[in-house]
Amino acid sequence: MKGWRTLFPNAWYVAVREYRSRCRSRSFVIGTILLAAISFAATQIPVLIDISVSTSETRVAVVVQASDMPSDSLALFDATLNGQSTDPNAHKDFAISWLPGGDATAAQTDLERGKYDVLLIVDRDAASDLRFTLRTDSPRDGRPVQTITNALVSLEIEDRLSRSGTSTAALRAPFSLTVASVTGTSEQTNNLSSEISTGLLSTGLIVLIFMAIVTYGVWVAMSVAEEKGSRVMELMLNATTPLQMLTGKMLGNGGAGMTQYGLILVAVIVGLVAQGPIHKAVLGSDAGTQFGGLSPAVLAAFVVLFVLGFTLYSLLYAALGSLVSRQEDVQSATSPLMVLIMLGYFMSVFGLQAIDETWVKVASFVPFFSPYLMLARVSAGHVEPWEFGLAVLLLLAAIVVALFVAARIYSAGVLLYGQRVSLAQVLRAARVSR
């Protein structure tokens, strides 16, 4: 095929034209803005959750009618309910109004008016033990009531000990606590949270590849069908070779797709970076952002598999796009490819649960599935360098084969006009076309 020698600059001119017209189209501009906005909003979800948590505090009024309460009862009560934080700005689950010698009737009125969620009256019974009366509409087995009940146990014990003459300072002395695994090693071998974050990461990266292929691959098919439909194709056919057009379309539409992806990614990064400041501005406290498990090696593997996977699939999209003459028919013409893409995607979703199974290993070398499955294996860290290299080589070989096949189907397909072009027809035409 003589096209190899003369691939550029024409493929480049086609790519630039495709890129410009794609990026200028209204659907691209609106789509990018919308997706970027949604992505930015999504990164703020943790902040929103924090905000909603921070506003849901339980207000507790404590009317203390009991005499001789231990002096640090309030501190103990607060610590048991809200935890021992040294940060004065930290969020507290319970707001405590400590009312020594307060009026129970007035407090009851405030409770009914909604000033408090819980009213606690503390007095002493005949045996001089502390007696607690809790009034609230929150559920009896709900977390706030349970927590308060636990705190009251501490108060009661401390009061009894203090009356029996034990120093409360000795009570507060720190004690030793070790959590060990079953076999007795001090550190647990399976770090649950890192396991979850790795799983999420691989799923996320696979979804990124999947979305790019599905969305931007269709762009390639659309642009082929569009040219065919508007009959510019005939002018183009004399000006370029099918290989130049294919390459240009792939580069142009792929580039436009990557631009959109890049802008969305920028929105996500800005959103993640802004999480801290926004959190601080709204809630007065900082919150860290974690990128767990994203190592440079995983990122590099992602980029390589992303580019190669997209190239392979968009070649096939271009070939299938050349079989129809109207953009409306693109969807149905490319549905066989969609099946293949979905198959790879679902294999990787199930494969993540069984990363060391033989079928996952085998499938991770098959060109159409390797962009997903090899990536899953790499991010799980269960892969040898030669395995990755082999998968990439096979993918490259598949791209070369696909390039020739696609160029043939394409050069035959673009001249066939009609409602329904059968594959047999195309193959017959492809045999004799240039």
């Binding site: 034209r17 017209s21 508007s230 005939e234 056919l237 070779t241 076309s433």
Partner: protein, 314 residues
């Protein structure tokens, strides 16, 4: 030194689109492809352009195979017109020129010059979809010639043009011819062919029925046409009785007759004089291309080219 189409065949499924056609088109001449729809004109052009590959046969331009020639050798105006709807005229013309290897700056200069020549410089920054059909066609013609191709292949270039734009295009044809370009175009307008072409080929169902210079083609039947008008005798009844003479048309002003091959048309004049007629008009001519076309293409099979008889209703 010519464009040589050598026994080229092409089959699409059950249809023999081209059946071993051979043609020689001389450099610098204007060549017309004539044929009914489906005769194979477009397929022939696509094969010359190496957009399609023939099943057998070769195309050479000045001795070089078309598969070895740079694409900028050819300028092509396809039958199905199309431009990038959302691109401006200037953008897409420069784009096409660049694809043919014209340097970007030269491409823009050439484009503006041609828009000027076609008296539409103000369209440079309009999007193609904002242009009328006729103007789009001019843009497409410019797209075909911007890279200064040696051979121009145009598929039905005059279809859909109003008389003013058609005249403009004919002028452009003349200019390209003056620049030494070879022009090949297909049409079914016989008058245009007689006006512009030096040579023609009539195609029918993938075969060249007749080809050569327009003069030779018109003489190919060996017949001659005579038109006679005689004072006081509009019917000229005796004309049809002459040996080898066959009346084809009785017009308002004259009678037209065919003189069979091997007979001297001058005998009609002599017969008139010997009858003492007062001759007002006498003309000898070759049959028109239209007559030849109908005769040549028609005699093979007319059934598909005429309306089927109306179904009889009880």
């Amino acid at each position: 030194m010519s464009l040589l189409i050598d026994s080229v065949s092409k089959r699409f499924g059950d249809v023999q689109a081209l059946d071993a056609i051979s043609l020689q088109i001389e450099p610098g001449e204007v060549f017309g492809f004539l044929g009914a729809n489906g005769a194979g004109k477009t397929t022939a052009m696509r094969i010359v352009l190496d957009i399609l590959r023939p099943d057998s046969g070769t195309i050479t331009w000045n001795g070089t195979l078309n598969t070895e020639l740079p694409r900028e050798t050819w300028g092509y105006l396809p039958e199905e017109r199309g431009l990038y709807a959302k691109m401006t005229v200037l953008e897409q013309l420069v784009f096409f020129a660049k694809l043919h290897g014209v340097k970007p700056r030269a491409a823009e200069r050439e484009t503006r010059e041609w828009l000027e020549r076609f008296r539409i410089p103000e369209y440079a920054d309009r999007r193609a979809e904002q242009l009328s059909k006729g103007n789009q066609q001019k843009i497409q013609f410019i797209a075909a010639i911007l890279h200064d191709p040696l051979v121009l292949l145009m598929d039905e270039p005059f279809t859909g043009l109003d008389p003013v734009n058609a005249a403009l295009l004919k002028e452009a044809f003349q200019e390209m011819k003056d620049r030494g370009k070879t022009l090949v175009f297909s049409t079914h307008q016989m008058e245009t062919v007689e006006e512009l072409c030096e040579s023609i080929a009539i195609l029918d169902r993938g075969r060249v029925v007749v080809g050569g210079s327009v003069r030779d083609v018109r003489r190919s039947t060996g017949r001659q046409m005579v038109r006679v008008a005689v004072q006081g005798d509009p019917e000229i009844a005796w004309l049809g009785t002459l040996d080898g003479v066959h009346v084809t048309r009785r017009g308002q002003d004259y009678v037209e007759a065919e003189v069979a091959p091997g007979h001297d048309p001058g005998s009609v004049l002599r017969a008139a004089l010997s009858r003492g007629c007062e001759i007002r008009h006498f003309e000898m001519a070759d049959p028109s291309l239209e007559q030849i076309f109908i005769e040549r293409v028609g005699q093979i099979d007319m059934s598909e080219r005429t309306l089927a008889p109306k179904a009889a209703h009880a």
